[in-house]
Amino acid sequence: MTEPILQITDLRVEFPGLVRNVKALRGVRLDLHKGQVVGLVGESGSGKSLTALACLGLVPSPGKVSGSVKLDGYEVVGRGEPELAHLRGGVAAMIFQNPMRALNPFFTIGQQMVEVIRCHRPFGKKEAVQAARKGLQDVQMPDPEIALGKYPHQMSGGQIQRVMIALGLACKPRLLIADECTTALDVTVQAQIIVLLRELASAYDLAVLFITHDLSVVATVCDRVAVMYAGEVVENGLVVDVFADPLHPYTRKLMSTVPTLGRADGELESIRGQVPDLALPMAGCTFCDRCDFATDVCATTPPGMQGYRADHQAACHHTAQRVATE
């Protein structure tokens, strides 16, 4: 395999607290190759957005980052602002959850797109406007010419999200990080954006890190999925494998909690207990308090990520036994 576009190894982020430090990320590991759409799922506070921010060197102060994030072979952790500037937008771009807040309400869509394009590429004004128009066409914006002259408040949420995607792709990045980019949208518009992202990813051979809490969106958009819990990746594999047979008890539970169409007769399970306090030291598996399969070893020894089937890993002491007995 070729060098991954994004290589995250043992990424840790810590925030100083009054009593103890909060360990928000505890050794995240994740690779992304070109043309891959990888879903990063987990509940609130599991560290998925923080992982995305760390990829662009955007972890807010006073967070302390350690470990390694390599973007296109270039180490991000420990770099200063000037060195990171060309990576952001140029190599990796990010779209945020609430598009209404991501654009400046005082400038037109055209002005904001032209500004971004001219920051990264040696374009004159005319060329930049042309590139912006082309960008809007690529995201299937109705009437791109009119859209360039509009202010953000004149557009719907779905249209703005298209603008954000066009902005993100304006400088031909190799990695697009989409943080909950369909969460604020209605279901019919969400479906439009999902299909658009899938088309763009294959047309531009783009690597996409798709962050969401919605498992059905992952199943529909992504090639691979990484499940996060309490600041760690607990399962990682191809979407078809993970959804057909989740290896980690947390992933299993998470899937059974989703109310889906046509499954109304089944009991909806819920996960007992709550996500652990990230400030407290954890000796063993972070999920052991809530897990039905937990034994003594789970409380004392942290399970490492282990490969089971080809290209499918999970961090659980009991998976090996379960897979063997099946």
């Binding site: 509940e43 609130s44 719907s156 949420g157 779905g158 249209q159 209605d186 279901v187 019919t188 518009v189 969400q190 479906a191 439009q192 999902i194 299909v195 809490h213 919605d214 498992l215 059905s216 969106v217 199943a219 529909t220 958009v221 979407v239 078809v240 959804f243 057909a244 539970k253 998470l254 899937m255 909690t257 989703v258 109310p259 889906t260 169409l261 046509g262 499954r263 109304a264 909806l268 399970e269 819920s270 996960i271 709550q274």
Partner: protein, 322 residues
């Protein structure tokens, strides 16, 4: 149906005057909710589902139409009677973080409606609050804490306890799980099911999540741009939708099975602005079945196979499949 429905809404319309003309947020909507039944209202943002709920609750005045609660017309009751109706209908809001007063202890939050309605001694009040907390899966000692000490799911339980304090017959749930994580959402849905079994309360469940509807509701009402487009038992409507919009909505929902991902279909365009409402059927500009008549004439709501309301000239089915 011989029994009087708990809530009957008849031709309900709510208009808002704006600079650019009148906007009908809710336009001639008719439905009913029976005792111990859950009716879900679904639709995209701006379809009027929340305005409908607020009007039923009396927080908005209806421009036209009637709301009948247990045989009594809401419009012709005085304020005193209104308070009594207020005890029959209660609401749980979407975001529990902003629905609960951060300066009040949980005991005071849940106790407030009780205090207003009855004259209870402090001991009686505390006992009642403790029972309510236990009913929603919290512990009595939680009444001495403040909202910020709880997680989102726990806060939603407190909201539910407050809404149930006066033993209402109907609970309006306005996207009660939209702000919660899936695992917590499942807990809240379980709790709502349990409470309905135990207390026989009816729910008017407002949501945009069709999966949740399938799980919790008996009947569903689909709204588009202020109008009811389809209504009927959840199983019938979801298995064989009659209105093209219902079909489109169902096709837009991503599935949990990655091998079925090609089933996701998209409809072009977006919901039009209620100010520039298309003449004729509001869905016609996005509908692949639309014909000339749909663009000029507003389809009336008709009863299909005896159980289902549909507002469409060309319904996808004309008889219930057996």
């Amino acid at each position: 149906m011989s029994e009087i429905p708990l809530l009957a809404v008849e031709g309900l319309t709510r208009e808002f005057p704006t600079k650019n003309g009148i906007v009908s947020a809710v336009d001639d909507v008719t439905f009913h909710v029976n005792k111990a039944e859950t009716v879900a209202i679904v639709g995209e943002s701006g379809c009027g589902k929340s305005t409908l709920a607020m009007t039923v609750l009396g927080l908005q005045t209806a421009t036209a139409g009637e709301i009948v609660v247990q045989g009594e017309h809401l419009a012709d009751i005085s304020k005193v009677m209104g308070d009594r109706i207020g005890r029959e209908i209660s609401i749980v809001f979407q975001n529990p973080h902003s629905a609960l007063n951060p300066k009040m202890k949980v005991g005071a939050i849940i106790g407030e409606p009780l205090k207003t309605a009855f004259s209870l001694s402090r001991k009686e009040l505390n006992e009642r609050v403790a029972t309510l907390l236990t009913e929603v899966g919290l512990r009595p000692e939680h009444m001495r804490r403040y909202p910020h000490e709880f997680s989102g799911g726990q806060l939603q339980r407190i909201s539910i306890a407050r809404a149930l304090a006066l033993e209402p017959k109907l609970l309006i749930l306005d996207e009660p799980t939209a702000a919660l994580d899936v695992s917590v959402q499942a807990q809240i849905l379980e709790l709502l099911n349990k409470l309905q079994r135990e207390l026989g309360v009816s729910y008017l469940f407002i949501t945009h999540d069709l999966g949740t509807v399938d799980y919790i509701a008996d009947r569903v009402i689909v709204m588009y741009l202020g109008k009811l487009v389809e209504g009927g038992p959840v199983k019938d409507v979801f298995n064989a939708p009659a209105h093209p919009y219902t079909r489109a909505l169902l096709d837009s929902v991503p599935t949990l099975d990655p091998t079925q991902r090609e089933r996701l279909k998209i409809i072009s365009g977006e919901v039009p602005s209620p100010i520039n409402r298309p003449p004729g059927c509001a869905f016609a500009p996005r509908c692949s079945y639309a014909q000339d008549r749909c663009r000029h004439e507003v389809p009336a709501t008709t009863l299909l196979d005896g159980i289902r309301d549909v507002a469409c000239f060309h319904p996808l089915i004309t008889k219930a499949p057996n």
